[in-house]
Assembly symmetry: none
Homo-oligomer: 125 residues x 4
DNA sequence: GTGGTCTAGACCACC
DNA sequence: GTGGTCTAGACCACC
């Protein structure tokens, strides 16, 4: 049972995909696992079934899932899948973060310094 | 002349505030500078004047600007203002980044490692 | 059901805030009470809903109310809230009164004497 | 040369009358003094001459001034005039103050106590 | 139904 | 020209 909090920074179908990806990265879902039916998932998420359908379609397109007629939608098999997804997500996060820090005038050293500073502060607590 | 691209992740007035803050941090705007009039800024941004006014009012509330009736809205004087804003913005970015990285299963060392790795890759290019 | 008579000495939204504060001081409203919805209150006061919203937003900013999305706007909990508001309102009244009496040439003793005189006169009626 | 700061709590002509009355009470103006010409006064106050005319007309109606054709407008003679005006103004202030304090739930004792408290606080400074 | 945002536009005071 | 207030009304998200 996946939980989601939707915001309006992205279309909901995109946020659903992110949730599935995060679950994969964290091991909550694994390759071969069956996803909820579109209808059930829509009910869980209190979302229109068409929205879930769009997410499922896109995930299949991305090579993340495969749909077996009459059986449901499954996370695709493949040992490298999780690492791949995780790599992409981390890379996107890190890239966006660097872009934003630079837009505030930080060079590489300052970016690292700010992160380390923050982590140290938390460590002391 | 400040540029803005609005998305729908936040109200427009909030994005206007962010633009002004960024301009301050980058030195495009400085304490004492006059902001565009509400009407002019609204025209530049292709936004309703009331939306700009909401942003200006909130900025005044935040201590970022001061308004002189009939003369306009100005970035507040005060040497520490820019550093304060910059500190806040960096801190927010860094905090959010750390939260997101952890939600993907990264501990402190991995967070640092991912940043450094990315920066090195870029350096080689 | 709160009543209001608007004059033009202050913006309407400010007068709405004063009405709510007075109701709190007099016990017509209590911490935790729900205020009328923006739409209802606007209808009662024969005022635009945006004007009520401005008042509600400012009251939230002042720490007087809190808003629960989709549920309404409520007087904030907190035992000291009413005393605080009452103290502020009385203090403002008294200060302004003293300033005005002095602008007519009254010293402290005369101010007191005038008040006492007036109260005694009324007592005899 | 009388100074005025106008607000919008009352029509400007009424505020002009108050200014003249205050000047009388404070001795800045005395019975028999000539007021500025309507034209001059309007210029000083940056106000429409008709507004001054309305104020002068009302003051004459109130028995405060008299106009001598071709000579101007004068504060009326009469030893009790100033005391009368002063009495009225103080009385209005005090009455309004009492009404407002009661509207916040204060009885006579509390009204006096609040005034005395405030005056003592100021005395200590 | 609730509040939140935004537009379009009027009218005002102060400069 | 500048900001401040207000109206009328649309559209949205959340309940």
């Amino acid at each position: 049972m996946l939980k989601v909090e939707f915001d309006n920074s992205q279309p909901i179908y995109a946020q659903i995909i992110t949730v599935v990806k995060k679950a994969l990265v964290l091991g909550t879902l694994s390759p071969g696992d069956k996803l909820p039916s579109q209808r059930d998932f829509a009910a869980q998420l209190k979302v229109n079934p068409n929205t879930v359908q769009r997410a499922y379609r896109d995930m299949e397109q991305l090579g993340l899932t495969e749909t077996l007629r009459g059986q449901g939608t499954f996370i695709k098999q493949g040992d490298k899948l999780v690492d791949l997804i995780k790599g992409e997500m981390l890379d996107d996060l890190v890239s966006a973060f660097i872009v934003e820090m630079r837009s505030l005038g930080c060079d590489d050293l300052k970016i690292i310094a700010h992160i380390e500073h923050k982590l140290e502060l938390e460590g002391e607590r």
